[in-house]
């Protein structure tokens, strides 16, 4: 196998190197790649779309269709993990911790779950008491991370970032919550149902705005046709508003999907205990 792999790899490498032979120099401003289309984008993006970040302009508008499916890809990823790992069966034995005393109870019959509250807490097989420093730091940090995520989403057309990055950051903040406390805390606060709806709704927001353009008489994704819907808008390019809408959609979807994937992997689909 190793030998075979070596041969394949060498052949591929040789082919790719051969292909680079006629490449223009690295960073050559006059290479065809940097002239044909990119110049158009750089020179016209601001006028066309009102977004000073050319990448965002291309991502959300010129090639917005790609991005819609990119979001669909991430949605697929989440859905795939859900389909693969999600295990709806109730687990038979549960561990509980009696909070005042610290005694661990092992309940084998799941018919009568203990009420979780001041007296009893969940606990996992390899439960360790949450570290106070980590807990506190995270509790303080998480809201800031989330605000930053929202900034990244909203400010995507002026600075690097956009819906995807923002969504990932938001998702990470919640994952941080799960890691610093435990998975139960997260699952209790963010219901699986909510995540599922968010994931679909985020992509749907994107596709919906795009389809709305179609209903307004334009082509699919042609934001310029949205103008009648936002009559109060006077000094913003209508396309920039459309882009903002889809970026928010992407952000929501990505946030939800990241959580779905994480929760399913870490708890093997049972949504009870994890890292």
């Amino acid at each position: 196998m190793r030998f075979f792999a070596f041969i394949v790899v060498c052949l591929t490498g040789a082919l790719l190197l051969y292909g680079t032979g006629e490449f223009p120099d690295w960073g050559d401003p006059n290479s065809p790649a940097s002239l044909h289309l990119s110049n158009y984008y750089i020179e016209n993006a601001l006028n066309d779309t009102g977004a000073p970040n050319f990448v965002t302009a291309v991502v959300a508008d010129y090639r917005g269709f790609d991005t819609m499916f990119e979001t669909a890809v991430i949605f697929c990823g989440g859905l795939a993990c859900f389909l693969l790992l999600r295990d709806f069966r109730e687990k038979k034995d549960h561990y509980y911790r009696h909070i005042p005393t610290g005694v661990i109870l092992h309940v084998k019959d799941s018919q009568k779950p203990l009420t979780i509250g001041k007296e009893f807490g969940y606990m996992d097989k390899d439960w360790v008491p949450p570290d106070l420093i980590i807990k506190t730091v995270c509790r303080i940090l998480i809201p800031f991370i989330q605000i930053y995520a929202m900034y990244v989403v909203a400010h995507g057309d002026y600075s690097p970032g956009g819906g995807f990055q923002g969504g990932v950051i938001f998702g990470s903040s919640l994952i941080l919550l799960a890691i610093s406390y435990d998975l139960k805390t997260l699952v209790k606060r963010v219901k699986e149902r909510v995540l599922g709806i968010f994931a679909a709704a985020g992509v749907l927001l994107y596709a919906g705005i795009a389809a709305l353009c179609m209903l307004m008489g334009g082509n699919f994704l042609d934001y310029s046709k949205l103008a009648p819907l936002v009559p109060w808008n006077s000094h913003h390019n209508i396309r920039a508003i459309g882009m903002l809408g889809v970026e928010i959609g992407v952000g929501i979807a990505v946030m939800a999907v990241m959580l779905i994937i994480y929760i399913n992997i870490v708890s093997e689909g049972r949504h009870d205990e994890g890292l």
Binding site: T56, G161, F164, Q165, I175, Y262, I265, G274
Partner: protein, 81 residues
């Protein structure tokens, strides 16, 4: 002239890639892989592709590593190769 920085970072990237594939501890692989992603992100920033770099920083170095660690948590840490 960015190329000296570029080539240094690139060397680190390749080093990390090889290391990530060859250590026998998967948790080590996870961390090396995170480092690889982060260096990659640095490389792209040098080349000016800030959006890509940002994404890689949040995804590659961030969430991917978390997924990785989560998966290792549910499987085995040791490996033969």
């Amino acid at each position: 002239m960015h190329w000296p920085i570029d080539i240094i970072v690139l060397t680190f990237v390749i080093f990390c890639a090889i290391a990530a594939l060859s250590v026998k501890d998967l948790l080590g692989t996870a961390i090396l892989f995170g480092a690889y992603s982060f260096l990659m992100c640095l490389l792209w920033t040098i080349m000016g592709a800030v959006d890509v770099a940002f994404t890689e920083a949040s995804v590659g170095a961030g969430v991917s590593t978390v997924f990785f660690v989560a998966a290792i948590f549910r499987t085995r840490r040791r490996t033969k190769d």
